[in-house]
Each structure stands twice: as structure tokens, then as C-alpha cells.
Assembly symmetry: C2
Homo-oligomer: 138 residues x 2
Amino acid sequence: MKKLVRKTKQREVIYNELCKLTSHPTADELFMIVKDKLPRVSLGTIYRNLEIMSEEGIVKKIEICGKMKRFDGNTSDHLHVKCIKCGKIEDIFLDNFDYINNFITNFVKDKTAFKIMGCDIQMSGLCSDCRNDALSFN
Amino acid sequence: MKKLVRKTKQREVIYNELCKLTSHPTADELFMIVKDKLPRVSLGTIYRNLEIMSEEGIVKKIEICGKMKRFDGNTSDHLHVKCIKCGKIEDIFLDNFDYINNFITNFVKDKTAFKIMGCDIQMSGLCSDCRNDALSFN
DNA sequence: TTTTGTGCAAACTGTTTGCATTAAG
DNA sequence: CTTAATGCAAACAGTTTGCACAAAA
């Protein structure tokens, strides 16, 4: 049976700091931030907790892979754009997210033997900083 | 200026073997396969070539991250479903892929400062093997 | 008191890199 | 001949794990 998940100081701080951010930090970035409040935390604790909390569904693991995993404290439906140049990830909130979601799921579910359970949409493009940086594309 | 990309035996075999597969192999899986034809290839060569070919646009790096990068020799528009249990990735081809793509892009482009360049849709769910494996969810 | 979580360091895994050598153009 | 690519091994980066101790229930 499922084992008990306890409330610990570390878990709480990690969760709160993650929720404050809209930057979809990596474990390491979050580690730096959490260390300001809990100077003795270890990176392992960050990893373990992010993993546990994403299993619990209160935190979201973002599936756009660069090299590092990224996490999001906002589990509500929204999608992400990733800059192909600098790797920055930004949220996009749409009023009709559910509509789009269903729209796609409907098309897809007849085409596969998978039981479809979720739909993740990732856009890619150039963020405002990078699109202004004319020299970078040559 | 852009440097010359040569045609080498290794490159060719890697590309051909990747195109034969619909399994979206990891670099390592492809390495095993290529080794049958070129017993002296190194894993580094596989990585270097997949990277180069994805920059050239003849191979696609798949952005659903588990732990390992995956590659796809089919660069035509299609989307992927990933099994949340076993990690298997399958293709889904839709006749109206472009339509869906534009549909989403249109909604999104007013909501962000990014210059939107692409749209990746990943579905998740349970593959036929895993959905029949009743014991696995308890 | 029992079980889960923590810090720490060491281990692991996938990927990248430096270098001497080989091959393509 | 010049430059790009290869094989190999060593380095690297991000993540996971084992263990002794601490904290939660």
C-alpha cells in the first residue's frame, strides 16, 4: 500500500519557493533559492522532494527537455513556449485551453491503441530578447 | 560561414538504420544496431552524427524527455504518444495535422512576445501492453 | 517506537570532449 | 593538401543512492 508522505520543513519550503516562481527552475536553481532559507539543505533533498511532489500531483515536471529537468509549481492547465536560442521557458495561459485539448484528443484517440490520458503542447520560437539580438543568426 | 558536412560511411549507416526504425531509439540503442554493420563505430560518433543531422534537419530530436534523448528519422509532421508506464513512444499520423497546428498557433501568438516557430504536441497515456497489465495499477 | 526524510558523499548514467589518426573533398 | 570525421578514453553534468542520523507521526 501507498506509504505515508510526511510534512517536513524542507518539503514545505521547496514547494513554496517553487510556487513563487514562474521561471520553471531546474532542481539546481531551486536548490540555490532554498538554500537561502535552509542553509543546510542538500541537492538530493531537492530532487527527492520534487520527484515525490510530482507523483503527488502538486508539482509538475515539464517535459520539454533541454538537458535538465524543469519543474513548475503551477499545475493548472497552461502551455509552454521554449526559446530555441536561449532555452528560456515561458507560460501561455489560454481561456480555451480545455477546448483545444479536447479538440486534439478527439482526433488522436481513434488513431492509436493507447489510452490517451493527457496532452502536452509545447511551442517553440524566439523570445523577445533573442529576436532582438540580430547578430545571433548568421 | 557554415562548414561543410561530409558524407561518411558512418553517417550514412546511422541515418539509414534510424530511418528503418519507428521505435525512436536512444543513441545507445542505435549504437547497438549500427555496430552490427560497422563493428568499430563508437558511441561518440553516434552522438555527433545525430546532433549534426538534427541540425541539418534530416533527423528529428524528440522533445519528450525521459532520461535519454530520442531520435526520429521521420521528419514529416506527426505527433507522439508516450506511455506513462513503460516509456514507449509511438507515432500518430493525422491527416489534418497542419490544421491543428495552425489552430493552436493562432490562439497562442497573441498571448506572447515570443515569435512562434513551431508546435510540438505530445500525448501521454497507456500503451496497449500496459493497459492490459491489470496488476500494475494498485 | 516506528517509519519516513535528511545531509552527505560516493556512485551512476547519459553525453560531450580532447587528441591522435584517418578519410573526404 | 586541407579540413572534417572517427575511435578511443577520459571528463563532465545532472541525477540517484546508500548510509547513519534526525524528525514526524
